[in-house]
Symmetry: C2
Subunit: 120 residues, 2 copies
Amino acid sequence: MARAATTSDAFNAIAEPQRREILVLLRGGERPVTDLARDLGMTQPQASKHLRVLREVGLVQVRGAGKQRLYGLDARGLRPIHEWVGGFERFWNESFDRLDEYVQELKQARQEGPQDGDDQ
Amino acid sequence: MARAATTSDAFNAIAEPQRREILVLLRGGERPVTDLARDLGMTQPQASKHLRVLREVGLVQVRGAGKQRLYGLDARGLRPIHEWVGGFERFWNESFDRLDEYVQELKQARQEGPQDGDDQ
DNA sequence: TTGACGCATTCCGATATAGGCATATGATGG
DNA sequence: CCATCATATGCCTATATCGGAATGCGTCAA
């Protein structure tokens, strides 16, 4: 029907580059919205919206500090992603080996040789 | 103006659960489209579309095998994701420390409310 | 060639995004 | 209470998604 909501999980939330940048900035510590917006060259409403998404999936937390609201990183939600992707670790190493055979097959295929005839 | 294209990068491509499932299945080796579709309980066109996206971002490769087209994993595109997310590793551990203060605050707050049973 | 199979690609509709802009809400200080 | 700063939310448009159904290829077997 449409793409899954950006707030449906961390995978969707971090699919947006600006949200990733926000998370990276927050590694440096808590920060108010305007600060983030300025540093990332986006408008304040934009920042607020992105932060809302990040908050809904639990990747950031807010803390009221007087007039300001300090957003802080809560990276625990990234762990499942790291683990899921990590499940492919041996494959992106293996890929080079596997591609070796692959490449050779392709070389042969390119020769257009029907049944035999190949060298090299 | 709209969300970034699913084909814009691996982050967006794997935001879709079904595509993640496809990738997982492909860890078991190359497979034809219909096979994947059946195993994942989706229609063949759906599978083809998802595979197209995965292919455009380079996460899978295709290889014609007679009538069939065998899709295979190319996990190299997942590596940048793993690294990016890995950049937060110390934070989701640290979170527990930082959360220590947090949890204590919560405990105090809870001391007035109902108690949760212990679990494990 | 015809037919059957495997797969890709259309067209359709519904949805919700990201961006820009205006404005509402909230808290602080006089 | 009022003005001000900090942030959130509402409204709007353009866009691209995912899902479904139908159909268009390309390949193989008689």
